[in-house]
């Protein structure tokens, strides 16, 4: 795998000299990286610190000398003055492929070396179109920068002899290729192949005709494609989103956190003021920001392209109050007054339902309001277990990049690449580094390809698998149902139990595949028990990770929210409803009745959702791009994001609104500064005790070093200057001793017909995705996936239209057939217009 420099590790250091500077770096470090660590720039094009060196662009040629050794004695030969004699080879060597060795002498700026650099640049430019003035990369282009610094300043190539190649080649609907600008460094193809195992672009032809091709359908169809534009050292690859949109030097950058999934990728939002927005700032693109503990320097395409919802013209900008059948505009004072009055009278009959995209500050204030009213604080999610995650960790200092041989990762009930792409990537890399990866899922997923052990179970047996593992090394519990006993005989389960027991470190990821809230809770509890029983709690690189459906679900749990096992009942029992960042009616039409029957409904939202349409008061809010706040990711890292553009007039931040409502209830909550709201939160929540906005904004040096103007090295990924976030201690680390508490399991019911199970798709039809037109061809349409056997039985062919009856609703769907789906099971994706909240009987008709 990619050579990794543990800057902090002082053992095994090699001393060498680079340009007369003494340098001391870990064994195995490549010459270019050693130079980088010493602050000396050796320019590169093809080399990228996240990928294996290939040594093909020849930009990094340097003189390398090694101490001469006397053959007979094996001792170093010395010069007259006693210094070691250094032998320089006849040729220059590529610094990107040569690891350092003891006593090595590197010369990076001799005449020969600078000449060679000049020559390489002259060669590269012979076929380059030199169209910087119209190139999107201009201003942040490694080729441009290195040409200015190291190039010959003049070309001897006759311009007329330049080859003409296609300039606007859509590789897919997200990425364009300019063939003339490509310098054949293969960074993009190697990224797709080596890093994300999705080799849908490649080289064809050879020699000067070498060119990037794609034969995927649709083109360049990869969840990762945007990253190639960051690491392309020229303007060959550009995104449809950004090309021809702005020049890099016009852009402001603002640190942010992606909230599309629970990984919490660090991002930078690039903005610019535009006339067409009345002189206001507009988000021009989303870029990754380096956080080696979270997303390294990558983000997935959803994070990069699905930001357009925040700028939608359909957003709410004025409070609305119901007058009869209609919602009518009102002032904030009117609306808040009304809400305060009504809520005050709701004592005991109150519930708040909040979505996982809210910030910690929002959750805290809403929870305070709810507690004051003696109501329930409900998280709008289909997953449970956040309180257990908070208890058993993962512990402070966890970094998936540290996992290696001896460590074990168990991923259960999750299609990780779809649910949390960056987690998929980092677990894959851990597995490639030697960590033992156990994947448990009823069907094959992409993660299987790197797994060392696979456990197949039937949907409904998720927790049973974990119980069977526990039983295999602890006293068998007599009350286990038949399915556990049967799984106990499964060789892969037994072997996995052994892995887990002997693991140096153990992290368990559980997802939501095939589960409802109750099932999710049982699974989480089983996993927590497994960790406790094997002593894998309360320290770094150990613990439980919930693959949440939203960016800040863990923050909600930490603030005292919990998912409801029976949402309809819970809502019906509390006729005063405070719905924030959630659309229960849109998700589940059967809840419409509950809302109709409710006494008073307040909805805080960006858009006039189905639920908002039924509300008594609607309060317009600000998206995360227009405010600041913190999120807690699935690995319990609390991270800070900053406002990128000015807030849309009329809308307010959720925590502020909650605080203003709280005022009427006699609560003193912070309504202005998110940082102060966070202080209040930190004072109340033990886990967050020592955290402040200042702490969250701290950074330290990361490897690889990017920024420092050397775009040629890491790409256009942003350096992290605004905070790496902090992982607060888990309950276990704060001295709470989590106890084993077994939940009794029952066997899944015997069923006759087909079982629908919910699965997750990256590009569902959620609001955030469908407001980003650029992703239109990637939107999932309503579909089901069945096994070939079932499809045949039903007379369904690939792509055929079918009708399903599920949860009392009929819907037309497209039928997909996939031999990875077990017989008797129908996969139903969440959030694509089909209503599924857990495994349920389904009827499928042709």
């Amino acid at each position: 795998m990619t050579e990794k420099i543990a800057v902090a590790v002082a053992e095994n250091l090699i001393n060498l000299t680079i340009d007369n500077r003494e340098v001391s770096v870990p064994a195995g470090t490549l010459v270019v990286n050693a130079a980088k660590l010493a602050g000396i720039d050796i320019p590169v094009f093809c080399y990228h610190p996240k990928m294996e060196p290939v040594g093909m662009c020849r930009m990094c040629l340097v003189e390398i000398g090694r101490p001469a050794i006397d053959r007979a004695s094996g001792k170093p030969l010395l010069n007259k003055d006693g210094s070691p004699q250094i032998n320089f080879g006849p040729k220059l060597e590529t610094g990107c492929t040569v690891p350092v060795s003891k006593g090595m002498v590197v010369r990076g700026y001799t005449e020969e070396v600078t000449e060679a650099r000049k020559e390489v640049i002259e060669f590269l430019l012979t076929s380059h179109p030199l169209d910087c003035p119209i190139c999107d990369k201009g201003g942040e282009c490694p080729l441009q920068n290195l040409t200015m610094e190291h190039g010959p300043g003049q070309s001897r190539f006759i311009f007329d002899e330049k080859i003409d190649l296609a300039k606007n080649v859509p590789l897919g609907d997200l990425i364009f290729l300019d063939r003339e600008r490509c310098i054949q460094c293969a960074r993009c193809t190697r990224f797709q192949d080596e890093i994300v195992d999705d080799p849908v672009i490649g080289f064809s032809q050879r020699g000067r005709a070498l060119e990037i091709i794609t034969f995927s359908d649709p083109g360049f169809d990869s969840y990762w494609s945007g990253n190639t534009t960051d690491i392309c050292p020229v303007g060959a690859l550009t995104t449809t989103d950004f090309r021809f949109e702005a020049r890099p030097w016009e852009l402001q950058s603002h640190a942010s956190i992606c909230n599309h999934c629970s990984v919490g990728c660090n991002t930078t939002l690039n903005t610019r003021r535009e006339a067409k927005s009345g002189g206001d700032e507009v988000i021009k693109r989303v870029m990754p920001r380096q956080n080696e503990q979270v997303n390294e320097i990558w983000i997935c395409d959803k994070g990069r392209f699905a930001h357009h919802y925040t700028e939608s013209p359909d957003r709410l900008t004025q409070p609305l109050i119901r007058k009869g059948d209609a919602l009518e505009p009102a002032t904030w004072d009117e609306a808040l007054q009304l809400v305060g009055d009504k809520f005050k009278k709701s004592k005991g009959k109150f519930a708040a339902l909040a979505g996982g995209r809210l910030t910690n500050e929002d959750f805290f204030n809403i929870q305070q309001v709810t507690a004051k009213l003696g109501g329930k604080a409900l998280l709008d999610s289909q997953m449970a277990g956040g309180e257990m995650v908070a208890q058993v960790g993962v512990g402070q200092g966890t970094n998936l990049s540290d996992l290696r041989a001896g460590d074990v990762v168990l991923v259960i009930a999750s299609d990780l690449e779809e649910e949390a792409p960056l987690h998929w990537l980092r677990i894959k890399q851990a597995a490639e580094r030697g960590a033992q990866l156990i994947v448990a899922n009823p069907r094959r997923t992409k993660l299987d390809q790197v797994a060392h052990r696979l456990i197949r179970y039937e949907y409904g047996q998720e927790a049973a698998v974990v119980h069977a593992m526990l039983d295999s090394f602890s006293p068998k519990r007599p009350d286990q149902p038949a399915s556990v006993k049967q799984l106990l005989r499964d060789e892969s389960v037994k072997a996995a139990a052994e892995d887990v027991q002997s693991a140096t470190n153990l992290i368990v990821f559980y997802g939501s595949e095939g589960l409802d809230v109750a099932g999710s809770h049982t699974l989480a509890s089983a996993c927590a028990n497994l960790l406790i029983a094997t002593g894998h709690v309360g320290r770094s690189n150990n613990g439980l990770v919930a693959v949440w459906d939203k960016g800040n679900a863990q923050g909600a749990w930490d603030a005292g929210f919990a998912t409801s096992v029976n949402l309809a009942d819970d809502l019906a029992a509390a006729p005063n409803l405070y719905i924030v960042g959630a659309d229960p009616v849109g998700d589940r039409p059967d809840l419409a009745e509950t809302f109709e029957a409710a006494e008073f409904v307040v909805v805080q939202e960006l858009f006039l959702t189905k639920t908002a349409q039924m509300a008594d008061v609607v309060l317009p809010v600000l998206p995360y791009t227009e405010r600041e706040g913190t999120y807690t990711n699935a690995e319990r890292r609390v991270q800070r994001f900053y406002p990128a553009i000015s807030p849309r007039p009329g809308a307010r931040a959720d925590f502020a609104i909650a605080a203003q409502i709280g005022l009427a209830l006699g609560l003193e909550l912070e309504s202005k500064l998110a940082s102060l709201a966070f202080e209040q939160l930190a004072a109340r929540l033990p886990a967050y005790k020592d955290l402040t906005y200042g702490k969250l904004a701290e950074t330290f040096e990361q490897w690889p070093i990017i920024g420092r103007e050397d775009l040629y090295y890491g790409g256009t990924t942003y350096d992290n200057t605004q905070g790496l976030g902090v992982q607060p201690p888990s309950g276990a680390e704060r001295g709470e001793s989590p106890a084993l508490s077994f939940e009794a399991l029952t066997d899944p019911e015997k069923r006759k017909g087909l079982l629908a199970v919910p699965v997750t798709r990256l590009y569902d039809l959620g609001l955030t995705v469908t407001t980003s037109e650029i992703l239109a061809t990637h939107w999932e349409q309503p579909h089901i996936v069945l096994s070939p056997a079932d499809a045949e039985k039903l007379g369904l062919e690939l792509g055929a239209q079918a009708t399903i009856k599920l949860n009392n609703m009929q819907s037309p769907v497209a039928a997909r057939i996939d031999n990875r789906v077990p017989k008797g099971v129908v996969l139903v994706p969440r959030s694509v217009g089909l209503h599924i909240f857990g495994p349920a009987p389904i009827e499928v008709g042709a």
């Binding site: 060196p53 290939v54 002259e122 006759i158 002899e161 310098i183």
Partner: protein, 427 residues
Amino acid sequence: MAEHILLRHRDNKEISKLPTYRKGSGFSAFERAVTKLNPEEVTDIVFDSGLRGRGGAGFPTGLKWRFMDKNNWPHYVAVNADESEPGTFKDRELMESNPYQFLEGVMLCAYAVGCNDAYIYLRGEFWDLAHELDKHITKLHKEKLLGDQLFGTEYSLRIHTHLGAGAYICGEETAMLESLEGKLGQPRLRPPFPPSFGLFGKPTVVNNVETLANVPLILEKGAKWYRGFGTEKSPGTKIFSLSGNVMKPGNYELPLGTTFRELIFEHGGGLREGRSIKAIMPAGASSSLIVANDVALDTQMDYENVPNVGAMLGSASIIVIDDSVSMDWLINKTVHFFEHESCGKCTPCREGTYWMKNITERIHHGEAVWDDVLLLNDVATNIKGKCLCALGDFATEAVTSSIERFREDFETRVPQSRPKTEVKLSL
């Protein structure tokens, strides 16, 4: 040469038939090796013979075999039958006409390095030849010379042919391995070298066809016998592929150390009436041009002497150039070849060969000025020594050597009116 060691079909046409080959003690060396010698002993004999690789670089064969990493298994043998250097056509004749000796060489090599699966990578154009070899291999299986538990020992061996598909670069050993793995035939970084990281990431010996064809007789008759041919540092015989402006082009198996003069004038029948020899390219299109004066003609063709006249022996593909040929035409040909065959992986080769092609085209068509000749020389110099594999260097040899040694040819091609600047000479 009284009798051939390699081109034995010239002495006995029937040797391509298995019974005939076996009658003449064929496969006895292999049987003896497998049943009586351990792999190291086989390697030692080849090492002692001083056999050097015939694929171009002349690396000692026994030494290469000794480099195989013994801590990493399985081991592979990948035979280089890509033969694509312009002017080289010896391996094809060997495999066509004396196939069993070649295959026995492969088998001995495989035994010596503990390999159970050997691959023969043939250039795609050798389609018919590959199918013939497949038939021979099937016969060897039938006769239990290949397969499992040979001669009642634990040793098993299979040989597979694999066709390339038209790419000179696949003759470069690491590109060949990539190609054999089903990837683009682009060279790998070295180190690691194939004996530690080769085919499928496993230790691999890559040897040329002719190299291995020597091995059966070395095993049969001994290292000392083999050293009776050739010179001290270049023992044995070599097949010289003679082509170009000679009367009798073809393959000639002669001891290393034979002079150019003997090859060209005695065996090759000299030049056409009225033509005189102008230049020699001893290593195919990758070669520097030697000025064919008496000193050069009397130079011995072996690994140590050819460099004295400013070239390398390489694969010993002797292209003879007579005085009707102008060097601007000649390098236009060679540069086109390398431009067409550059794999495109590294910058100087990919861009440099393309640039050189533009310039040689212009020079050859009389559309250049003297500065273009200088530029060409400069571009070639800039390519040299900076590429990932040797193809880049190869592309420059004919260019720089001809500008240096046959300057008049270029002077007559570019308008005389232009001022001439001096070319920096380098030998």
